[in-house]
Subunit: 327 residues, 2 copies
């Protein structure tokens, strides 16, 4: 049988969320050779498996020289790495589904199942803004906030594979209720949904001040994080104050993360950061000023580099790591 | 030359703070065979070395059968493990002193220098409340708050050996100024000094309510954490409220720690906990209720076991680990 024509071994990476399947063939250098995206509500388990298989076939057809040796998949939910079972994926409506074994049967290659944030962390670590360091925190600030932590060259997993939920560290004791139920989580101030919620409340308290926000969004309850950023970009003082508060909350959380984990590099990604790259420049001096000097001596704070591809590049890297560790 | 008469290899552990030297000969099972304490302001570097040597001699005289093979020392400050240099120890007034090499010359055995909280964490991990687990957080709530984190069977060190400063995670963004300068640190609410400060402020705001506190302490500014606990023990409503707030702050911080690190066991020690063991029972249900279920599935929250000996037992264990790794 012919071997892969490319020099570099390739694997398949899949990023599976509630409303999309993104699949790519990725080489050992992290280059995406082909990718395929399905954007729609991911159906029940059987249908989702078929959708994934379809995207894999499309990628193989688009990059016929590649002979991917394994598949990695990052799922928005709790997974068991060793068995490939997805324990609970609320956005997909899944409980205890054997994703790894089913995909393995359909595709005939080894399959490695991980969490989507964990996969994206691997992506930034191996081929993005985190390369070359052994002590790394990657924080994704999107609608929600997730994180991944690399400690002495190993991804932090925790006792039940749940470590790194940095969005659910208490930032304001007794504060705003988070979607997880805990009062005062970091996510309940800086996550996209929370920025929108804070803005809506502020508009209701001060309709005159929030006029531009309502004008842009249509109504107070329709204001989103994007509305706030857009109004702030136009110099609207009300929106600028909301953005300033957000930066202050973000910096306050980062101080605690830096003091707790003492990373050499802190990588900031996710939609909120991608749309507001200046946040990185703004939090940097605050963190360096307020965190313990012993913890900031070698600290760099940088933007993520892989954007939407972090998940597939990382899942593919997890798969490559997995097959190489198996040998 | 005669070998140790005891079955178990012994090492020396030293716990060095600003006002005490505590030294012990400890066997491989963590049993303290002899110990010696000097309580006084630790002098300049040369004098401190002599004091340590004195306590070692006294321990050796008290346990003549033991032939300790190495010494471990935990220092309240920033240390460089590889060189044994103490970079900065504010309570001792030291900067860049070669503690490891100097003690090695004087004693003729290998010396391992570590941070005091790190040493106490080792103590609880190897011979105290943390035995048998590979994912552990030990939190010492005393005048200040320090912590140690064990991840997948390895002590978390961080990029510049400063990881685990859990007392300096932001708990109330924009809140009370911590001694480290950051607004809103966990320590600025729950550390012994902060409990005293919060109580003093509360008394000044409400002198009638705080009458018992002032009576017990002599004046508002003399109120300490112990005063608050004592008054609360007598059922004083004002003091009880301060204690309740403290428990709530503690639990809020623990939720974030559990979500971030996902330990199998969370060990609570230090003076504030030792004097209020009920804090452990009180925070347990709150943490289990508010932290993510994935992170609490296997979580135990327990009291530290070694109390004041954690430092010497841990430093001795570090030394034993060090000589065995060297072999």
């Amino acid at each position: 049988m012919a071997r892969s024509a490319g020099k570099s071994k390739t694997t398949i990476g899949v990023d599976l969320g509630g409303t999309k399947v993104l699949t790519g063939i990725v080489d050992a250098e992290g280059v995406v050779r082909a990718s395929q995206r399905l954007s729609s509500a991911v159906g029940d388990f059987d249908a989702a498996v078929e959708e994934i298989v379809e995207t894999v076939s499309a990628c193989r057809a688009a990059s016929p020289d590649a002979s991917p040796v394994a598949l990695g998949i990052g799922v928005a939910g709790q997974v068991e790495r060793d068995t490939g079972v997805v324990r609970f994926a609320p956005n997909l409506g899944w409980r205890d589904v054997p994703l790894g074994s089913r995909l393995g049967e359909r595709l005939g290659i080894p399959v490695f199942v991980t969490n989507d944030v964990r996969a994206a962390t691997w992506g930034e670590w191996t081929h993005g803004a985190g390369t070359g360091t052994r002590d790394l925190v990657v924080l994704f600030v999107g609608t929600g906030i997730g994180g991944g932590v690399v400690v002495a060259g190993r991804l932090l997993e925790g006792a039940t594979n749940a470590a790194g939920e940095l969005g659910h560290q208490t930032l304001v004791a007794g504060g705003r209720t988070c979607r997880c139920g805990n009062p005062g989580c970091f996510e309940a101030y800086v996550g996209g949904w929370a920025i929108a919620e804070r803005a809506t409340e502020a508009v209701r308290e001060d309709p005159a001040g929030g006029r531009l926000l309502v004008e842009l969004a249509g109504s107070a309850s329709a204001v989103t994080a994007a509305t706030v950023m857009s109004a702030a970009g136009q110099g609207d003082a009300f929106a600028v104050r909301l953005v300033d508060d957000t930066v202050e909350y973000l910096a306050s959380a980062l101080v605690g993360i830096v003091n707790g984990f003492n990373p050499a590099r802190l990588v900031l990604g996710g939609g909120v950061i991608e749309h507001n790259p200046s946040f990185v420049e703004r939090v940097r001096p605050i963190v360096h000023q307020r965190a313990l000097s012993a913890a900031t001596r070698r600290l760099e704070i940088v933007r993520a580099r892989l954007a939407g591809n972090a998940g597939i590049v990382g899942a593919a890297a997890v798969a490559l790591h997995g097959v190489e560790a198996d040998v």
